[in-house]
Amino acid sequence: MTDNTLRLTPQTFPQRFISWLKEFTVGKTNIQQSRMWLALGVILAFALVTTMGLKQHWAGDSGLADIRVVYIGASLLLVTLVLLFGVGSLSRYLPEPDAEDGAPDAAAQDNAAPAGAAPSQPEPAPSSNQPSNGRSEQNGPTH
């Protein structure tokens, strides 16, 4: 028996952020790709707003108007990060969708003995290194 399908990330907020960044270099986290691209897009958009404001300000055109743009961009970026990593789709408090048709379930069904047949062999011991459903095995089951 293994709970590969139900693993969650036991990481702290900074660890999870680093883990999320690592996905783009080594591709070894358990966060879903679609969520990550969406999150990256939103964060980049707000970072771009902030950078535009900074660029305008450094160009020396006006004072407060650009400062306001930087303020808006930085605020949105901060709120987005808190929402994504603390509450929303990248939060460690939100369980990953359970892989209903994953390897363990299939194995369990395969092992189900037909009526009248001899009892099936016991399940192999859980392998902590066997990847399942594209998720890494560096994380244990917890909230």
Binding site: M1, D3, T5, L6, H57, S62, G63, L64, A65, D66, I67, R68, V70, Y71, A74, S75, L78, V79, V82, L83, G86, V87, S91, Y93, L94, P95, D98, E100, G102, P104, D105, A108, Q109, A112, E123, P141, T142, H143
Partner: protein, 321 residues
């Protein structure tokens, strides 16, 4: 000494009022968004995996009785609360899924662990929601605690007003809010949010032990009682929203000296000379205020009450002296 105490009291009163606003807003969001069902479903799945050696869905697929299968497949997790995780209910369900006596050993202890996991995840997420709400409120309106403190300390009339009338009003609001609050900010309370109500006094599911029928009922259309209850809840939500908006408008009117400088300041003032200093002051001031009202929300009421009684005592002594 007295000006400093009065400043602290005024500042605490303003922070307390802000904390109450954040609390109300968080409560509204909690009632609109389901932060609970997926965690509950996940924990039940983990429990099934631990007891049966297979996931809930795989176990349900192997149930032989069509009636039981229909019922188990029809469980609507969004309508199930903490009461689902009682030993009697879960034992009955696991037995239907093929669990034997040996596998059901220590079920109560296992359930406690899973229930604790759900509660932890829910509480932690609600704290993060409160932090996000605080950030939105403070950064959006540019509510700057530093400016508020400086203005209160420098303006005697304002300080006196906030240390007396406003502080009393804030304390009354806090006590009223705590009296009207839900019995507990628990996952079970969250499950009673609009659209997720269950009939009071009824079994979570009629097919559970002790009920008269085994008819699958979890995904049926809502009964007239449910619809009436949902309408009442919606009306209450609208009312709460209006109250919140009015409280927010009052707060903006009362504390206008510490709000929105980044939006209202013109470039001909002194800020034109040091825009970065102005930005740092407003951004980090608002950020600090957001953290103070979100994370430190629990302490403002106690601090204000203690300081108010201390100040009253000191004023009495000065009058008698």
């Amino acid at each position: 000494m007295v000006p400093l105490i009065d400043t602290v009291i005024g500042f605490s009163a303003i922070m307390l009022m802000l904390s109450l606003l954040v609390k109300s807003l968080t409560s509204l969001i909690k009632n609109h968004v389901d932060f609970y069902s997926r965690n509950l479903q996940h924990e039940v799945n983990r429990l099934a995996l631990g007891v049966l050696g297979k996931s809930w869905k795989a176990a349900v697929a192997q149930v032989k009785s069509d009636q039981d299968k229909r019922f188990l497949e029809g469980i609507n997790w969004e309508r199930v609360g903490d009461e689902f995780l009682t030993k009697g209910h879960v034992e009955w369900l696991l037995t239907k899924l093929g669990a034997t006596g040996g596998a059901l050993q220590n079920l109560e202890q296992r359930l406690q662990v899973h229930a604790a996991s759900i509660k932890y995840a829910f509480d932690a997420r609600m704290k993060n929601v409160a932090l996000a709400v605080g950030l939105v409120l403070c950064l959006g309106l540019n509510i700057n605690g530093l400016t508020i403190w400086k203005t209160l300390y420098g303006d005697q009339q304002l300080r006196t007003t906030f240390a007396t009338t406003y502080a009393q009003s804030a304390l009354l609001s806090a006590e009223k809010t705590s009296q009207n609050a839900n019995p507990a900010n628990t996952p079970a309370a969250a499950k009673k949010a609009p659209g997720k109500d269950k009939k009071p006094g009824s079994s979570p599911n009629p097919a559970l032990p002790g009920a008269n029928t085994t008819e699958p009922a979890a995904t049926g259309s809502p009964s007239p009682t449910d619809q009436g209850s949902e309408t009442a809840q919606k009306e209450k939500l609208n009312e709460d929203t209006q109250t919140l908006m009015s409280e927010l408008a009052d707060f903006q009117k009362n504390v206008n000296f510490g709000i929105g400088r980044i939006w209202t300041e013109n470039s001909t003032g002194k800020t034109a000379r040091s825009p970065w200093k102005f930005f740092a002051n407003e951004f980090f001031g608002s950020l600090m205020t957001a953290v103070l009202i979100s994370i430190g929300a629990a302490y403002w009421h106690d601090l204000l009450r203690t300081l108010t009684s201390f100040s009253l005592k000191k004023r009495d002594e000065e009058t008698q002296g």
